[in-house]
């Protein structure tokens, strides 16, 4: 007991909450591979995985922003609305107002940042609960979005089409003709934010603030600044997700990505980022998403009805959450805390 070493990274990974998910992932691959031939299909192909990763990129960006914020103990319920808002803004700017695509993108992302800024102000300066503040902001944003989506005749459009090949390319470009560029972007983003959280000063402060904001403040950690950055980053990630989505489907839609918000949050929680803050990380969030999307894809490939898929994915989520609850309780028990 004289050279107090660290626990090895390997041991840490095994003990982390994301590890059981990884096992689940492997089990699913085996099962789907075995079951797919019954439906005259093939699961274990490059195409399947590329398609899974492609499905993952939009909620991936959402999960990155929401996850970082949650580690610090915050939450943002306006993120998906911001994503939709970004899409609508871009589509309207390009399709109706004939702005150049880059101007549209810049305006839309600036709006996203502003919404994040307002969230941060509500929480930090007016001391509102993040839950309430961001929910209210989500409502306000939705109203503004409807206003933007109202055309000259006074009709509100549910979806706005545009025609701009460059803009469309962002979400649809495929490297070498088969690998979507968005996958690469998403993976780079996960690695970047993963390193940011686990290896940098900023990341460490995020965990410490999430763990005990009062102690962090008394130790000179600037929690206000961190909170501003995280809220704005969360919105910006929502904006990027919206950009990719809008580009991919060639239109802006008022109802886009409504469920992706929860996919992102669920993935983050599955991967070990708890609502209370102070734990989990990007790796876990990624694996969480991977499990959810692989499940959905696999069910489609083996030809399950969407009804069964929904029921089972609900059950899967419940199982994962109760496992999480159980292991947390066991840990607390071990500690007697």
């Amino acid at each position: 007991m004289d050279n107090f070493t660290r626990i090895s990274t390997f041991k840490k990974a095994i003990r982390s909450k994301a590890f059981p998910l990884l096992i689940l992932f492997v089990i699913m691959i085996v099962l789907f591979t075995a079951l797919a031939p019954l439906n005259d299909a093939n699961f274990l192909t490059t195409r399947t995985f590329i398609s899974i990763l492609r499905d993952l990129s939009v909620p991936g960006f959402l999960a990155i922003g929401a996850g970082c914020l949650m580690v610090s103990g915050g939450i943002d319920l306006s993120q998906a609305t911001v994503a939709a808002m970004t899409g609508v803004t871009i589509a309207v700017s390009v399709g109706w107002w004939n702005l150049p695509w880059y101007a549209a993108v810049i305006i839309a992302l600036l709006i996203a940042l502003c919404i994040g800024l307002v969230n941060a102000i509500l929480v930090n300066e007016l001391n509102m609960m993040p839950f309430i503040a961001t929910m209210a902001m989500s409502t306000v944003t939705r109203a503004v979005m409807m206003l933007i989506a109202t055309d000259q005749t006074g009709q509100m459009q549910g979806s706005i089409n545009y025609n701009n090949p460059t803009l469309t390319l962002i979400g649809n470009y495929e490297i070498g003709g088969f690998l979507p560029a968005t996958i690469i972007a998403m993976i780079i983003a996960f690695i970047f934010y993963g390193l940011l959280l686990s290896k940098t000063k900023f990341g460490r402060s995020v965990y410490l603030i999430g763990g005990n904001p009062m102690a962090a403040r008394l130790a000179g950690i600037n929690s206000k600044k961190t909170s501003y950055i995280l809220f704005m980053n969360c919105s910006l990630m929502g904006g990027l997700a919206g950009l990719i989505y809008t580009s991919r489907v060639k239109q802006g839609s008022l109802s886009a990505m409504a469920t992706d918000q929860f996919t992102g949050l669920t993935a983050a929680i599955l991967g070990g980022i708890s609502f209370g803050g102070g734990s989990g990380g990007m790796g876990g969030a990624f694996i969480g998403l991977l499990v959810i999307k692989t499940f959905n894809k696999g069910m489609t490939i083996i030809g399950a009805s969407s009804y069964v898929t929904n029921v089972l994915s609900g059950a899967l989520l419940l199982a994962a959450l109760s496992f999480d609850y159980y292991s947390q309780r066991r840990q607390r028990k071990r500690i007697g805390a």
């Binding site: 007991m1 050279n3 107090f4 070493t5 660290r6 626990i7 390193l195 290896k199 940098t200 000063k201 460490r204 402060s205 965990y207 410490l208 763990g211 005990n212 009062m214 102690a215 962090a216 403040r217 008394l218 130790a219 000179g220 950690i221 600037n222 102070g278 734990s279 028990k333 071990r334 500690i335 007697g336 805390a337």
Partner: protein
């Protein structure tokens, strides 16, 4: 029939530590049995086993001839065992009465009977003679009163076995007196009482027998009347440490004035003025709620200042946040480790480098080699009992948690000019206490100004060079160590201005 509680062969291992190994002893009714041992000796673990919170790997618990085994804390309560934990377990947003009656809230027609609840709570509070309103949420009470609520909660259950884990750590003399009277009353009722404390004075005052643990093993079981401090320390530490205070090697050369506080007024303190020179150890004594902590928080930029000025090395300073104060060379070791000091679910390492993340950087990342080195230094300096540097703090024993905070603020990363220690020895064992006193003196020799707040009178009048006494947010007097006696300081602490 004589009531008794017998433990035998109790063992418990945590990853990397054998917290208890084959511990056994017998406690009898109508007597107070002290559990004594260094930080990490296994005292709290033993009590958590008694309360059903932790399962022992091996061993038997027998109460009045009946062997007990618990599946949950609820079972232990039902068997008549109440444990008052070292770390408070209250629901802080709930009222005092709801906390005291938690688990047994009186109901009438399926609805909470607030009238009865309030009346019964009032009865208990009156028996204790405390100025607490049953309806206040617990979080608005002082730490001392929160602790008393914890004790009332156990008292209310009227259990046969009552175990106290360092109950006096957050209390001052007034509440300690109330507690001791209560313990004597419980004793007369024939209850079996276990008592853990690092304060030997209390052990001699209130206990009848003493069981000493060391590194998780049983060392001895003696009658309090037949032993003395020196022997006990030897059992605990394994060696003689001599007279703590007489052996201190103090600083006797002061430098320039380091800190000057003029007419400081905040929401909690009024017109406070004092000064501190480099190399001086300035003690702050007073009862709980005297405003000592609040003065320090204001200096540290943690509480807003209404009026008055603070000068550091002759220059007026205005700290908006603790960060400003830290950058200017001030370190504050807060009194409440769980709430204000530590991030419990993070590692020892994180908790130590917390204020100095800037200094453990190798762009763009953190410098993990350096932070590891700094952490190991602190672990060695204070002999923190842990197998690895990334053990999460919540898994450490109470005293070892306190050492992590001390290790943080006295680490080699700090460029501290002024070190403020608010109750630094709370929950620390005798051997380490002596080391902390010496460390305080050594830092003074290096030219630091040290402010030492303590509610233990003996400690503060023996360690500090000069003692300022506060009451109700104002300074009521000042004494030099040479002239300080407990009576004198106490008189000032209770003075009616």
């Amino acid at each position: 029939m004589e009531q008794y509680l017998e433990l035998s062969g109790i063992s418990k291992a945590f990853p990397g530590v054998q917290a208890l190994k084959d511990v056994g002893f017998r406690a009898t009714g109508g007597k107070v049995l002290a559990l004594l041992g260094e930080n990490g000796a296994g005292k709290s673990t033993l009590l958590k086993i008694l309360s059903g919170d932790i399962k022992p790997d091996e061993g038997k618990i027998v109460l009045n001839g009946r062997e007990l085994s618990f599946r949950s804390p609820h079972d232990a309560l039902k068997s008549g065992i109440s444990v008052i934990y070292q770390e408070r377990q209250l629901m802080s947003a709930m009222s005092v009465m709801e906390n005291i009656f938690a688990g047994d809230i009186p109901v009438k027609n399926g609805i909470v009977d607030y009238k009865t609840l309030k009346r019964e709570t009032k009865k208990i509070i009156d028996q204790f003679g405390l100025p607490i309103d049953p309806e206040t949420p617990v979080m608005f009470l002082s730490i001392a009163h929160q602790q008393m609520v914890e004790i009332m909660k156990a008292y209310r259950r009227d259990s046969l076995v009552i175990a106290f884990d360092e109950p006096t750590a957050p209390l001052t003399d007034t509440e300690i007196e109330i507690l001791f009277n209560l313990i004597r009353r419980l004793k007369e009722q024939g209850k079996i009482i276990l008592y853990v404390s690092h304060r030997l004075k209390e052990i001699f005052e209130v206990t009848d027998e003493i069981v000493v643990l060391k590194d998780g093993r049983f060392v001895t079981h003696v009658n309090t009347a037949e032993t003395n401090e020196q022997d006990l320390i030897k059992y605990m530490v394994g060696r003689d440490i001599g007279d703590t205070y007489a052996n201190l090697s103090r600083n006797d050369k002061y430098g320039d004035v380091l800190l000057e506080v003029n007419n400081l007024t905040t929401y909690a303190v009024h017109d406070v003025s004092f000064s501190l020179r480099k190399g001086e150890v300035l003690g702050f004594a007073g009862l709980v709620g005297a405003g000592r902590t609040e003065v320090m928080r204001a200096i540290f930029g943690a509480d807003p200042i209404i009026s008055g000025e603070i000068k550091l090395e002759g220059k007026k300073v205005e700290f908006k946040t603790p960060k400003d104060a830290i950058d200017a060379g001030i370190a504050l070791c807060p009194e409440d480790r769980k709430e204000q000091g530590l991030v419990l679910w993070r590692s020892i390492e994180d908790n130590i480098i917390m204020p100095f993340l800037d200094k453990v950087r190798k762009w763009p990342f953190l410098d993990f080699k350096k932070s590891e080195r700094v952490t190991i230094e602190a672990i060695k300096k204070y002999d923190i009992k842990t197998p690895t540097i990334d053990k999460i703090v919540v898994e450490l024993s109470g005293g070892n948690q306190q050492k992590v905070i001390l290790g943080r603020w006295t680490s080699s990363l700090v460029n501290t000019k002024l070190l403020i220690l608010d109750e630094p020895t709370k929950g620390i064992d005798v051997g380490t206490k002596a080391e902390i006193y010496q460390m305080v003196c050594d830092l003074a020799k290096e030219g630091l100004g040290v402010i030492f707040i303590s509610s233990e009178l003996t400690e503060v009048i023996n360690v500090a060079d000069r003692i300022i006494v506060m009451k109700d947010g104002t300074i009521t007097g000042e004494v030099l160590r040479e002239e300080a006696t407990e009576e004198k300081v106490l008189a000032l602490a209770m003075a009616s201005n």
